[in-house]
Amino acid sequence: MASRGALRVAAQHKTLVAGAAIVAVVLAAALISLVWTPYPIDVLSVADRLKGPSPAHLLGTDQFGRDMVSMLMVGARTSIAVALLAVGIGILVGVPLGLLAAARGGWLDETLMRANDLVFAFPALLSAVMITAIMGPGAINAILAIGIFNIPVFARVARGGALSLKSREFVLAARVAGKGEVRIIAEHVLPNIANLLIVQGTIQFSLGILAEAGLSYVGLGAQPPLASWGRMLNEAQTMMALAPSLALYPGLAIVVTVLGLNLMGDGLRDLLDPRLKRRTV
């Protein structure tokens, strides 16, 4: 019965299905690259440089003779890992901050939210460039730089959701049942704002992939020999006239992945937003 329900949901939410399918393909490529790629990407082979598509190299090779399919797979892994961890930082730090602000109110709420506004006031990508430039380039620093700007986003979503639940009668009933703040948050608030967080998480995930691509493009993201879509674009730049397809593939990978995530986010919003749900019933 559950699967039949899932099928009906799928039929009603075509954008969700399309987005999820794209994301699933990228995710699968990234996961497979952990154990297998068609060719190793840390072995340079000048003899095979700039090959066109062939059965041996489906998308050809770059100027160092590395297989493009393998590079894209590892690049997907880098992008997803960086964006996912950055979203993780945002949720793990931002959600508790937002909940704390909502639960306590008063000057604490005011201070936390103004600090949030302060972070929002910085241009995120430029500040991330600055942070990685100071702390040194690398995947870990890119994660931190992107993650910091996810914190206020999740803090806001969590605070807004928690505030609207705070005066609901089932929360009051839980307080009459003697339950403490932490327990009420775990039992009543988090499950009811999870949908908001999931939707926001998808959106931040796609922004994270763009940010990672941007940082590696200017050389501040993942360092060689690790492949990254942004870095591939950068390296392809010098070969633009000779082999334009080298820039085309990673560029397309970024566009399609971000599109897939945005479609999935929109679809999830339709599926999980109770106001929209009520309208369809």
Binding site: R168, E169, F170, A173, R175, V176, A177, G178, R183, N192
Partner: protein, 549 residues
Amino acid sequence: MSGFFAVEGLDVDIHGKPILEGVSLEIGRGEIFGLVGESGSGKSMTALAAMQLLPHGAEARGRILLDGADVLSVSEAAMCRLRGRRIGMVFQEPMTALNPVKTIGQQIAEGLVLHMRMTRAQAMERVRALLDRVGLARARVTPERFPHQLSGGQRQRVVIAMAIACQPDLLIADEPTTALDVTIQAQILALIREIVEAEKMGCLLISHDLAVVAEMADRVSIMKNGEIVESGRTAALFANLSHPYSKALMAASNHVPKRAKGPAHSPANHGLQPILSVRELVRAYPQPRASLFAKSPPVVAVNRVSFDIRPGQSVGLVGESGCGKSTLARALLGLEAPNGGAISVLGQDPHSARGATREVVHRAVQVVFQDPYGSFNPRHRIGRVVAEPLYLLRGEIDAREARERVAAALTEVGLTEADMAKYPHEFSGGQRQRIAIARALVTRPKLIIADEPVSALDVSIRAQILDLFADLRARHGLAYLFISHDLSVVRAITDDVMVMNGGRIVERGRTARVFDHPRHPYTRLLVAAAPRLEEALAARQRIEEAGTG
């Protein structure tokens, strides 16, 4: 009957599901026609059909005649010329019926400019006259005001001014006073009646409240499940109800639960130690600062309130919205700390008690809220919902006993053990209120604070829930603090009553004494404003006899 407006054999389907079946009615000029029914009976759908504002996917058949022309067959463009011009509508919720970013003058003038081809200046002239007509000029409400600057009753007057701006032939009022306090309700009803008579309009008054309809309407139809079960002249109809549903509705409206005789209700219990004792309780909210240097005085929501509740005593607390009754309830439940005075539950202060004492205090006082939809976490099953207060007994009872207690509480309120596995949305409003009561019962409390527990329910369901409260009290010797704006509900279920106004308790005493012989002017006002079915019907009877004789 010279009906200028008539509905003949109206059927409405929504996505093939029948909503209305064979609805017929006729309204004459200067006549108020009442349409009564419980939620889902199709009374609002009838009004929407007359306005051609049916929801998407709805299909109407039959005829709706306005001066002989069928409204159902005219084009949307012609309908737009009709709406507001020939048919005006007053909605239930005055806040959402007004646009918050436009002044009330602009909103009233909208129809005048559109339908009457008035210039701005002419329209504004007429707006002033209309504000005077609905009694707002006296209150110095100018057209430049915004909706949020007005009280609920004033907003509803603005909505009425909008509805009558173009002097329509038919005024449809859909639950026009349901969102208002009784004293305001009386004023708005008087205004509608006066306008209908003076302007010779026809009025279709839709209400769930038999007393309101009996007071207002010349003729009445009773609706159930999309069909009219009975119609007639008001007094004659109510005197000789023939359909079983109308009889049941009438009985439920006058329902008084049977009082169990027992020691718990005799004056002897006045010797018992009170469960709850409140002394000089004050709860004030800070206001935003008036200026950088001057603090605004706080709003005092509860002002030096004192009372006791003894075991088995049922106490009512009546008052209008904003009088502080819910704030008082929250303070008693330990949800909001008071700013002054003392609360004592079984000799303990719920706000300063900690640890085991605190749990004993909370166990003794449980709560039932108003909204049967908002009181449960939608993601929890009923078993978990009802078991929630057992958290207060953690360590004392094991999982098996907890389960038994939940099952017992559900049986107690007329549900079954099997309902534990269901989710809240699988239940109707009345059943949900039973679940809320089960949740309050599960710790075996001594006092239940019920904040408007039947206000959101239909009359027949309301009667059942009131019976349940009375029954539980008889069986367990429970004490109640019954908070309500509805005097008939409080009269039906309480021994003693307190009347609250502006944060103070202005009158208290035995319920029958307070309502039959009110002493404080505010209580008198409240009692006089509350529509009483019997009295309204008697008055109606006299009018009808004078009319025929």
